[in-house]
Symmetry: C2
Amino acid sequence: MSVSILDHRSSARPADRDAHRAHLLTRLRDELSDGEVFTGDDDLDRVATDRSGHRLPGRPLALVRPWTTAGVAATLRLASATGTVVVPRGAGTGLSGGASAPDGSLVLSTERLNRILQIDPADQVAVVQAGVVTADLDAAAAEHGLTYAPDPASWRQSTIGGNIATNAGGLHCVKYGVTRESVLALTAVLADGTVLPVGHRTIKGVAGFDLTGLFVGSEGTLGVVVEATVRLRPRPARTRTLAAWFPSAAAAAAGVLVALAQGVTPSVLELLDAGTLRAIDEGQGTDLAEYGSALLLVQTDGLGADAEIAALAGALVDLGADVDLPEGAEADRYFELRRSGRVLDERLWFVGEDVAVPRSAMGPLLERIERIGAAHGVSTSVVAHAGDGNLHPAFTLPRVTGESEPPLALERAADDLVRAALALGGTITGEHGVGITKRRWLEQELGAPVVDLQRRLKSVFDPAGVLNPHTWLAKEPSWPAS
Amino acid sequence: MSVSILDHRSSARPADRDAHRAHLLTRLRDELSDGEVFTGDDDLDRVATDRSGHRLPGRPLALVRPWTTAGVAATLRLASATGTVVVPRGAGTGLSGGASAPDGSLVLSTERLNRILQIDPADQVAVVQAGVVTADLDAAAAEHGLTYAPDPASWRQSTIGGNIATNAGGLHCVKYGVTRESVLALTAVLADGTVLPVGHRTIKGVAGFDLTGLFVGSEGTLGVVVEATVRLRPRPARTRTLAAWFPSAAAAAAGVLVALAQGVTPSVLELLDAGTLRAIDEGQGTDLAEYGSALLLVQTDGLGADAEIAALAGALVDLGADVDLPEGAEADRYFELRRSGRVLDERLWFVGEDVAVPRSAMGPLLERIERIGAAHGVSTSVVAHAGDGNLHPAFTLPRVTGESEPPLALERAADDLVRAALALGGTITGEHGVGITKRRWLEQELGAPVVDLQRRLKSVFDPAGVLNPHTWLAKEPSWPAS
């Protein structure tokens, strides 16, 4: 794979480079429609990074927001022909820098491909364009008594295309699977402009390699997804909620294993540790931390919801938990606090992480996180999609006046965490993706031969190496954050 | 990709070819241990095809049954170095000729890699070698109150490696997903002998392309799977069974859609048409066909099993079905008849098929199958994993004394069926794989650009083109059956 991101920066003379870029913009405007190419500072600044805040040196050349698949294809054809880096972009809610744009690149947004093309209640599938917002799809499905299950925390902003690019998870994935389990087919535009439909509308199908699965989670390196056929499911007629309070995070982690041994698959199984409960209390004026040092928030759904929640409650009470069975608005309030409670506090430096471990390793990892915090003198808090062993630890320090960079202790704590997760048989990212910010750990997890194989796979789809070559598959060291 | 299957046949002189083969055998015996290489006629005849019965001209050079991964790697290294075709083989229960061996090839069996390495009740995972029999894994899991969900009809003979190669389905996949949804990680040996572990022991993980998913269903063309980490699930404490009788297959298909709209995910949802009921009655001495012209066999499991079966029963009674709720041995008997009832009758020519369609298209396809049977003068019968829209139609004709080949009418009927499934938005294979016997339809489903892309993907893993190059990715016309 030719990694061409340096081409623009290494032009011998700035004047040549500027002439090349001006020519590229002219050709881009020729190929696309009026109002699809943006070069204003505000636009470029907005799309230069994602929610990770990780910015690369320089600035993108243009933001392209096509109205059509043809516009996506034209942009990619031109990029391949000229060796120009393309950064595919959904809503920009990614957390790993997967949509951080290098100098001279084209940011290719799918946000205008935002039509729900079909909702089929009989087949329980929807056909949507990539720019459809996740929550909008779920709302449209709800009109037919159906739901789109994958629900990343950003689901009110994130798009299906972005969800597919990162194989997004969420609260309900413990029962219904991650995005991969809901994508039956998709249409991707390859780097050379080829429009490639893969997969099938059927639930099952084994004709050929699973290219749909290969695109899901590929973080914009294989092609730009413009359309998808996704699975919908009957909207549960009934849900039940359980809040179980434990004296420690490790005790709550033991509760997770006990809960999952009951022959019940909960529709939500979240763990909030003491640091998270305190953060929510500070942000929302609640008093959660007074009830215990860790909370398991559990939901069951469907016709067995009552029997299931009773079984789980019994098992957790036997384990010594204080169990509450909130209903109605009180139950909703718990989920609202879980989703939005841990707001960013501007008085704090904050490094959020995303690792997953085998479920039995959650207890050991939670204890390890406390030790990591103590060793680096940083505060820790953890929320976890505990049913899947997927933890989001955060490390924080108070901002000191005049500090322009986060203290290194935060990054060091994060590094210790990721290495600890790997040592426990885990992965460096459960659902956020590798992007740029987690690239330094990728080879530790996969090993050099697998990373090399992945590079060769990319080159089959993108021989010119223009699709996100600077992110997780790049050979060079990470770009410095600016 | 160099497709080298013709090399051996096209040697200029038979004497040269024989010398080459003798030399290859000598090297193979040097590399492997005593008792790992077999060249007897009986052995080679046994492994020359799978349960499809599709035999290729000539005979394989040797059967290799290594005791270790090192033996698998040595075989593949030698094959790549000499351009020798390798046919990976599990239990040989495949139905599409994916393990049919061409002349001069090495059949590489994983049946001796048959150890269950670990069952971890806390993580609910098992680590197994590829040759472990599916039912043996489930039995071992049962000792811990767990189950391995994917249950192809051949599960008492089939191996986990073979299940992975074909992404095998089964009765329980409507609730628990196909093999893909139960494989977390695997170790494959590539064509050059590289031992490549991919995936992770965690439930979630998005570091890099989903190579695990790429190997699942690749039918032995990317590597030889030697080990897998698979998901286990709590064994349901309770199951309930429902038998619903309908006046026609189309009415039963309508019942499937109604059942799936109830907000219940049944653990089994099978459809048996009149032809199948008659075949079972003839084979087993039952009188199923007297109860109706089509049967939906439904199971629910878990703590909600009673509420769920009641909801389904109510909805199907409202639809006009005659509903029975068998328990205990009576319920078991239904499943036994479903699994093993449709025995091959030696007085009949039989062509069995495997297609999947969107669930709403099942009714139209079932009606179409009856018309296809009438048009070609052949008898039809259908069993379907109806919850997934996966149909197994069979076409039969009485054997006439002296006939050595099945009448062309059977193949013509099968061809009409597959084309009808494609026209309804379906796939040429829901769970059996493409192998050799379904290759003629592959490009109709995927289109030439996708097939070409798949060939280029294979060449990344197998540049010498030695792993099953003669099956679904071959460019030449199908080998004639002998």
